[in-house]
Subunit: 385 residues, 2 copies
């Protein structure tokens, strides 16, 4: 039985809310089509979901993919993608694209020279070249890329971090968020563009509840079209992550979409959904796949194991992916041991299919008022950590 809750904002409509937790389904409207939420978004950092073709992404049911502004700015560069007609055309992907600002990468991959109020001065991790990016630059670049969902430049603090540092960082992220929103609005104000992309605010604040609340409140005051929670899943224990997620999201307006950045494993996805998160991304399906770990309806399999030498069953009998329709565990094990690239490709595609279908099942369960039941069943089935 579906009941429309009629919560909606400019780009997002909540369709159905669970009665026993904050789980909800909804639709996010983008220039490249609607995204049904909750959704898992495959990660295509450099404009390619590792080893996987667009055709395969579509077959796996991917509604939207991620790309990274930092990586694409360094290579192939804003100009090349601009000349191609934007990232969708450059990579021949015509469904929605969310671009992360690259804040996380500037603070982890790049050699940092100086964070100033104006922006951030860093050296490329590829060739050491020096770059300076302001929050305005990052918005401009994402508009050149033609991103459907944009993230503002933010500072993602390491775990653990000193409270003083996190407090200053939250203030900086808020100032940058304000400038990002102003610049985003200035770009489409009056130019008649049909869809300006959807800009999210990113809640930071490390593992400090007071600072997380402050960050959320400051961003809420700026009235972003959507809200992301950043700086989680960076090494803190699960219970800390779940607690901070709760604090970070409790005051967010319910009619706006919520995105938990970089998370996560299947059990994290269930927890996130139960706390009202609508969007997830994680490199786990592709990265773990390349390392011979596959997720199945019965739990994880480490395909290099000798026990699969003569296991002539598919990875997951219930999975509709090409690999499961075609090949056996024994064959995949052989390919991994023989260092054949096809192995990682098939495992990555399988895992993406698994994660995307898991969110499809979660959406159905929410609509049918049995999300918590579905979660309990899933958690009882196997080891998914």
């Amino acid at each position: 039985m579906k009941t429309r809750t009629e919560r909606s904002s400019r780009f997002f409509t909540v369709h159905h809310e669970a009665k026993d937790c904050r789980a909800r389904t909804g639709v996010l409207k983008t220039a490249h089509g609607d995204i049904r939420t909750p959704v898992f978004m495959p990660v295509g950092t450099q404009g390619s979901v590792k080893t996987i073709s667009n055709q395969e992404l579509v077959e796996a049911g991917a509604q939207v993919i991620l790309a990274n502004t930092y990586h694409l700015t360094l290579r192939p560069g804003e100009k090349v993608i601009g000349e191609a007609g934007g990232l969708h055309r450059f990579m021949s992907w015509n469904r929605p694209i969310l671009t992360d600002s690259g804040g996380f990468q500037i603070f982890s991959l790049a050699t940092l020279n100086k964070i100033r109020d104006e922006g951030v001065d860093f050296r490329s991790h590829i060739d050491g070249s020096r770059h300076f990016l302001t929050p305005e630059d990052v918005i401009r670049i994402q508009r050149t890329l033609g991103s459907d969902i944009l993230m503002p430049l933010d500072e993602c603090v390491k775990y653990p971090a000193e409270r003083d540092y996190v407090e200053k960082s939250v203030a900086l992220t808020s100032r940058w968020a304000k400038r990002s929103k102003d610049h985003w609005e200035s770009l489409f104000r009056g130019n008649g563009e049909a869809h300006p992309g959807i800009l999210f605010g990113i809640v930071q604040g490390g593992t400090d509840t007071t600072l997380r609340k402050r960050s959320a409140r400051e961003l809420i005051d700026m009235d972003f079209p959507g809200y992301a929670v950043g700086g989680l899943s960076v090494g803190e224990p699960s219970d800390v992550m779940y607690g901070i997620l709760n604090v970070a999201t409790e005051k967010l307006p319910k009619e706006k979409p919520r995105y938990l950045m970089g998370v996560g494993l299947p059990l994290d996805l269930f927890e996130g959904v139960s706390q009202g998160v609508d969007m997830f991304d994680c490199v786990v399906p592709t990265r773990n796949g390349r390392n011979a770990t596959v997720f199945t309806s019965e739990g994880k399999l480490l395909l290099r194991g000798a026990s699969y030498t003569r296991d002539f069953r598919p990875v997951d009998e219930r999975c509709p992916c090409y690999g499961c329709r075609t090949y056996t565990r024994a064959y995949l094990r052989h390919l991994f041991n023989a260092e054949e690239h096809l192995a990682g490709r098939l495992a990555a595609l399988h895992n993406l299919t698994f994660f995307i279908q898991l969110l499809d099942s979660i959406r159905r369960a929410i609509e049918e008022d049995r999300f918590t039941e579905f979660r309990r069943e899933f958690e009882a089935k196997g080891d998914f950590l």
Copy 2:
């Protein structure tokens, strides 16, 4: 205008012969279907054409693929593939498979302990384990694999080599060929098996014309169902290869299929066809693809080049492969520079499509009595070396 020449043997029928050279078309009948010749066979050494799925091989038009007895014997082993029900089932490929004996690999990859008349004693290149294989073992293993086309154990001498060494080697290869054929016949004689696989004799003899002739004569006397020319394209100049190919093939019975092992580049394929070769295999399409070199109807492209940065055309406008239908040179260049595995995969698939279609075009040209004309046009178009 097609004229049937009515040359045929147990497994092979010649359909049409050129008037101005030895080029011909034909059909090789195997237990997994007919192979129209001349044919290019993708190489799946370890039971996988590198980076490419079976579905993609079928889309590329692959009629038959290669696998390697040496590699598969070491990993995953004869027993595992036997328990899977043979190599076709193990790798889920239901078109024909040709298995090389592994002679070439034993003499190049493995650490050789001793070549005896009985067989060859070597250490695995994977784990150093010691193995002893006789010509009879190699036939038995290929029957367990369920190969459609079998190669006997042979010695592939290095280039250059001393005449004395090559002479002794040819004698050994002939003795092994006789034992291989006897063993092959003993395996299906009286057991009612529908199709015993097709055993080829391999002409060796290095670059010595007398020894090549002797090797060919000795194998012809044994009346093999097909003949391969081995030990070419191992470092000798093209003109030497072409001359030796001529000597090695001139006395081969015209009603039997001919296979030029490990060759080659597009111009080598034309030369081979003009000398009456029916089958080719080479790692060039997949290996060069992974290294960013693609073959097109206008010649080779080295996709890492800066000139492709803003080249928003497909790799080859005339190519029907998934990559050419979907992505641009600029995007592929970006993926190669960003070390994204998708790049090598797309380039390998493109090159396989190019090589397979080139042989399709050659077959058509022979049937239409314009092979030499087609060859001249092709050679004039670009740099394919």
